[in-house]
Symmetry: C2
């Protein structure tokens, strides 16, 4: 049966169910407006480990284990772990997969990785290749900062367009079969879009065109309007990217002001000194698993979750390249 | 219909066909024993670009374009591009995907990425989510060397256990439906395995346990023996890892001396001064697309292709971590 839909979309005839989810964040995220929704707020961002990178890995593994525990299943019941993170060679997810001993599919889509994991995982479950999969991603402010930008000790001044990498992780257990839980009903794969932005402290501007492209393609593929969704949730555009997205979609004939909820704008408050907002794989993952999935069947019946990633590296920036970006989307229904 | 098989395997009821494939390698690989089989040997490893990283990207894109051209189709006919590479944030595949404008799923499995792309891509096609996908990976000696080890200008002496990253790329076009072309009939997903090896100049030793685990699991999942395959093709174990694999599988009750063909051992000859052999995503990809797929229906009827990757990063090694590894496997039938 053909599950291809429109130009870039797929539809699930046996929609995978989200049977469990978990979120863990760092202390600053815990102090933000969504703080009380997360399953766990770490007391410090070291997780009892000796380095930020080891701390991120422990947080990732702990989040997956918590999602499994909530579903009352163990690792053996999971056919595949899909995910990634922002660290070079996705060592967070890879090393966590070693400890979890679940067959592993490593993905990299920068901050789009949670949506990428959900859409690929849903294809695995709907396609009959897996009964249960876990999609999980994370990011860690201090680990990302010293890898992508500069050591924290340098105390660099930040640009007002900069976003703060969220310390957080989210994990979703997708399952085949009937039962309770909201469902992943369809999705749209993103293309890599590049509007020529070269300022690595302005990711929102680099990512907005990719998000606009994926949302517009999604709506056209399915012949839907923004009003068909209770919320259109974007991963990590921040204040600058959010405004650009509204303008880019307006030019394409879509108005999404009423539906738009950007995880990067919502996870921190104005007085937390985070410039343009939050970012990182862990931002959309923790907001999805901490706040949004808990609102399904309460505030929301049908939402479009669009996570976007800036596909730069330190080397590509140093070689004068612009910043390409990608956004993948999945539809969640109560 | 359940396509899950055994503990870690999947089976394709409508096996995707390999309708086209292409390979491009660097000059040293062109001088090796398989040199005449590759579609194109670059005259120098700069590809007319100003950096090694840009050269790798051009090689990747060119290889995908060549595979499409051979199949007489263009980018619009491809539903998804799946792949990755060894550079931080997989900038080779991401930037190439920007130029190719095909919906992109970025994968990272180090040198296992070609098998990972083939198994995930096959699930997409067999599952009905795509009519045609491209699976493509690459690596570049000079780009990898300065990212993972040291600048070439330093002229470091190499360890006898070290493997040389292959400059090369391979691309496969997978298609649904009936017709000519060899088929991907089933596959086995790998788990992350770590035997505690910490020597980053001995990847073969780090990867052999993961390959042994995946091959043994595959044979047990399907109730097959090594003799059921005309060849068991491993990606990039090199001389040291090849010997360890034979010993590890012998302990598990399997003898694969007669079937074993290691891409890392075969791509260079003894007199090319490459220590333990070749490695890198581009090694198994270029040998698969340059040599092996051309032997299907000639020398081989059924082969097991197992690509393996060492999931370390510079940071993980600096923090004293051991080297976890993963191997994914697909079965190709003429």
């Amino acid at each position: 049966m053909d599950k291809r839909f429109g130009s870039q979309s797929v539809v699930f005839h046996h929609p995978p169910r989200i049977v469990s989810f978990a979120s863990v964040v760092g202390p600053k995220e815990g102090e933000g407006p969504l703080g009380r929704f997360f399953d766990e707020v770490m007391q410090d961002d070291m997780c009892g480990e000796k380095s930020f990178e080891k701390a991120e890995r422990t947080m990732y593994r702990y989040t997956v284990e918590m999602a499994l525990k909530k579903a009352n299943i163990n690792e053996d019941a999971i056919d595949m772990l899909l995910g990634g993170d922002l660290l070079n060679q996705i060592i967070t997810a890879s090393f966590a997969a070693r400890d979890l001993r679940i067959p592993f599919i490593g993905l990299y889509g920068a901050c789009s990785t949670m949506a990428e994991s959900l859409i690929v995982g849903s294809m695995m479950v709907d396609g009959g290749f897996a009964k249960r999969v876990v999609a999980a991603t994370s990011s860690h402010f201090s680990a990302a900062e010293r890898q992508y930008r500069a050591p924290l000790e340098l105390g660099n001044q930040r640009s007002p367009t900069a976003q703060r990498t969220v310390t957080g992780a989210g994990a979703v257990v997708l399952s085949s079969g009937q039962g309770r839980g909201c469902r992943v009903t369809c999705g749209t794969l993103g293309r890599v879009i590049d509007f020529g932005i070269k300022d690595a402290t302005n990711m929102g501007a680099a990512m907005a065109p990719a998000v606009a492209d994926t949302i517009a393609t999604h709506l056209m593929d399915f012949g839907r309007r923004p009003e068909d969704y209770d919320a259109i949730i974007t991963g990590d555009l921040g204040k600058v990217g959010r405004q650009l997205l509204l303008e880019l979609l307006y030019e394409k004939g879509f108005r999404i002001e009423k539906q738009l909820f950007d995880c990067g704008c919502e996870i921190f408050s104005e007085n937390q000194d985070v410039d343009a907002g939050g970012s990182g794989c862990g931002c959309s993952a923790s907001v999805l698993c901490g706040y949004l999935l808990k609102q399904m069947d309460v505030r929301f019946q049908r939402v479009l979750f669009v996570a976007c990633g800036a596909l730069l590296s330190v080397t590509s920036s140093q070689q004068g390249e612009s910043i390409p970006a990608i956004a993948h989307a999945v539809v969640l229904e109560a």
